[in-house]
Symmetry: C2
Subunit: 507 residues, 2 copies
């Protein structure tokens, strides 16, 4: 691939009108990386959205088979350039090459999955009630179908530079739905974003998609994001990131003259309940699995298990010790960028300094942007009395809460919304915990038995969502085929002649 | 039925703690009707929501067949008491008996339709991806299903005292979904609301539903509605009414610490395009149909056609004269209540006083709360230059806009969101208007050919919704079976043993 240019890509036009620039930083060495990137100006943002709106009039009518070819061309282009993209992503994120290659596989799989999905009209949930002319009053012919909503703004996520960024799940599902996409690149990996954007633009050209079906804008400032959300042509927003940023975008979208939906996935603590039978049967395996799940990707996953509730006693103590050993034995990993690192260190310090919280085990020797992974423990009263302890610590930290049976249920009831909750138990003891299951059903988007919440399968049955503050819209998922529903809305044709109906709703 | 008591119904408990009272008024005579009704206090509102939340824990697990029996028992109870309910509704709304009996048929049909819908688990959109233990990494068993969202607040609509009020489509779809309902009665028909609420409560008792599955609160003040929307136990809101009120509820819901969805259907102007071929073929029939559609229910329908766009010339002049004759020959009807009447008279005056607008025909002799029905005409420039003319006039008024072919398309492009748009044309001329159809697809929830937008069929393929400001959520419908989706959200069970899964997601 050609060398990086650092400009905004307004359709295929390079643009850098503004004087504000920034650069990526190598988190391993904390040194700046070339080139400088141009922060988008308001007129560049306006042009990106205007091009997207113009493209919408064509793209919404593009045949599903042609949209599928576009998605597959993006996937093929990513496969072709995977080495260059992964190399730049590794520089910008300090994520290991194997992880980045795996994430690219996930990204291309998602693109091809949505291409397959729209190869059948099932995704349009077509409902036909034919005319009943003899009935009094007569019933007209009615045909309901889901159609594309309009231009979608997607925010790249820092922790998934590929699978939840420029060509990630939000972009793939919006393009599959028939919506042009304007991506706001995450400023921590602007070079990776540019490389992926060029692949998308090349695929758009190869498959004759309308200009403006895709644009990429850069920006570190909140203003760029807010301007995109507030732009009158924006019809919906996809976001993965922090609660604070997600809520700010939601508030901006809700207070527009014409409000629009914001699908913000803002992470969660992902509580895990470890039942006595499970501890008796396989405490070591759970302790090892927990340590792996917490530390995966230096703990920078939305589904990272941050609170573990167990029943106090010798079995739990032994479990905590085992898990602590895994933490102590692990090497510190480098975090994505300095902002994530300092937020993590602050949150960890606040948790460990809380009266009643002890550190059971932690990694040693962290330097630079490396994270000190930590497993802490506390009692149910302390946990219940400190709202801070229920908030997500984005990074490799987890907190064991010692409770009794009754406290376990009360604690579950007091939870806010989460992406996931997990129960480790034996099938034999599970019937005693029916009340716990029922409480957790109202709190989360995914309920896991004897597994770990990290590793979100991309498939039809996945739900990666959940009640606020896990997301701003618990009716939706950002992973799996159902993610396309976020960018579709129904229309009903009444009494239309066959010739004037879209092909997929004809007889 | 027993005589009216005028109290709030917090589950089956009558309550009137506050000192604020109000009464209904007979719109025909503008005289007050007995009894007085007790405005709900904040502690009564809190109790209604607390009871709903308690009920939710049971009701969400009630078998679909038992929920269906509950819905059918409500329908049976309404059938049994139809005479009393329609008599009171006629007093409170001045709607004719035949209309109210028809509306009751629609109401009971809706209840039975949702009972039928939940008799099959299809409404839960169940998706199962079974485990792939041999794959690397292994795929766990994943089962996604839609579940009830939580307690729902429903606002009764003034213009449909039955079908969009206490036991209307919002209530029926929320109860079918497994959500307890708290209805805020519309203060224009509190007695009708009480009678219907008593039927629901009796049905709940007969079918052993949990206490708190239904409550009714009264209130004229905005504070009652806002308190319901802001209550922490409220999970979603259904509303049919004005843009101002709907937007206020949406803003309150969006700015909660935990935002919730508001499904507000706020009406629209429902533009109708009359093409030259249609005028040549059947101008008189369209003029008659238009006059009937505009005047149906004294024009108090969200789908009432308020703007008619035609191409200027002799054919359009003749059409307008024919329609004007129908308006002049019609008798003035009494509107629902004084607030609707004065808002209508004000909006009509503003429209007819606009420079460039002429009255083509109107009813005469209106007195009291009777409406002067009016058909007005203007030119495309005047229409484009006056935003006011694009706003809904809730009542029996419509505006003919004379344009040429190009202006017709520009005018369509300039439209905001509407519930419906209609095209009258011949099948032969329709291909020339493909661009018009495509523009209208992006503006409305339902697109009608050679019909009238009033008379919203209740069925699977109906979409009664549309882009803002027609509604606050264009992804949804408030009429037809898809209305249930508003009160459901997904959850995914991962790796759960069969015995711990809800029955409908087992193998």
């Amino acid at each position: 691939m050609s060398s990086l240019h650092g400009q905004n890509l307004l359709a295929s036009n390079r643009s850098s009108q503004g004087s504000d620039t920034f650069h990526a930083t190598d988190p391993s060495t904390q040194t700046p990386l070339e080139p400088t990137f141009a922060e988008a100006t308001s007129s560049e943002i306006d042009l990106a959205m205007t091009l997207a709106e113009k493209a919408f009039w064509h793209y919404r009518k593009v045949e599903d088979s042609a949209k599928a070819a576009f998605l597959r061309a993006i996937a093929d282009g990513l496969d072709q350039h995977v080495e260059d993209i992964a190399a730049r992503a590794q520089l910008e994120t300090a994520l290991p090459a194997a992880r980045l290659h795996g994430e690219m596989g996930r990204t291309t799989n998602q693109l091809r999955m949505f291409a397959d999905l729209i190869s059948s009209p099932d995704y349009r949930d077509i409902r036909i009630d034919t005319a009943l002319p003899e009935r009094q009053p007569p019933r007209p012919d009615l045909r309901r179908v889901l159609i594309a909503m309009g231009p979608v703004v997607v925010f790249g996520a820092s922790n998934f530079p590929l699978a939840f960024s420029v060509a990630g799940g939000d972009t793939a599902s919006a393009l599959a739905a028939g919506c042009p996409v304007v991506v706001k690149a995450h400023p921590a990996h602007p070079g990776t974003s540019e490389l992926v954007a060029e692949v998308i633009l090349e695929a758009a050209q190869k498959t004759s998609m309308p200009a403006g079906v895709f644009s990429l804008v850069h920006g570190r400032s909140h203003e760029v994001g807010l301007a995109l959300v507030r732009h009158p042509h924006t019809a919906a927003v996809g976001f993965t990131g922090s609660l604070r940023a997600g809520r700010a975008l939601f508030d901006a979208a809700s207070s527009r003259p014409t409000p629009i939906p914001v699908y913000a996935e803002m992470g969660s603590t992902n509580p895990m309940f470890v039942l006595p039978g499970a501890l008796a049967e396989r405490a070591d395996a759970i302790a090892e699995g927990l340590a792996q799940s917490v530390n995966l990707g230096v703990g920078q996953f939305c589904t990272n298990p941050g609170v573990i509730i167990g029943q106090k006693g010798d079995a739990l103590d032994a479990f905590v010790n085992k898990a602590a050993n895994y933490f102590q034995a692990s090497d510190p990993g480098t975090m994505l960028y300095s902002g994530v690192h300092s937020a993590y260190q602050d949150a960890l310090k606040r948790a460990r300094d809380t009266a009643g919280v002890q550190v059971a085990g932690e990694t040693t020797g962290a330097s630079g942007l490396q994270a000190t992974a930590a497993i802490m423990r506390t009692d149910a009263q302390t946990f219940a009395a400190n709202d801070d302890l229920q908030e997500e610590i984005f990074g490799p930290a987890t907190l064991i809460v010692e409770s009794d049976l009754e406290q376990m249920l009360e604690l579950a009831k007091s939870l806010s919304g989460h992406l996931t909750a997990t129960i480790h138990g034996t099938e034999a003891e599970l019937p005693q915990y029916q009340a716990l299951i029922e409480v957790l059903e109202t709190k989360v988007g995914r309920l896991i038995f004897n597994g770990f919440p990290t590793g979100v399968e991309v498939c039809s049955a996945m739900n990666h969502g959940g009640p606020y503050p896990a997301t701003t819209d618990m009716r939706t998922t950002s992973v799996g085929t159902a993610a396309i529903e976020r960018f579709l809305r129904p229309i009903c044709y009444q009494g239309f002649p066959q010739t004037a109906l879209p092909a997929h709703v004809r007889d």
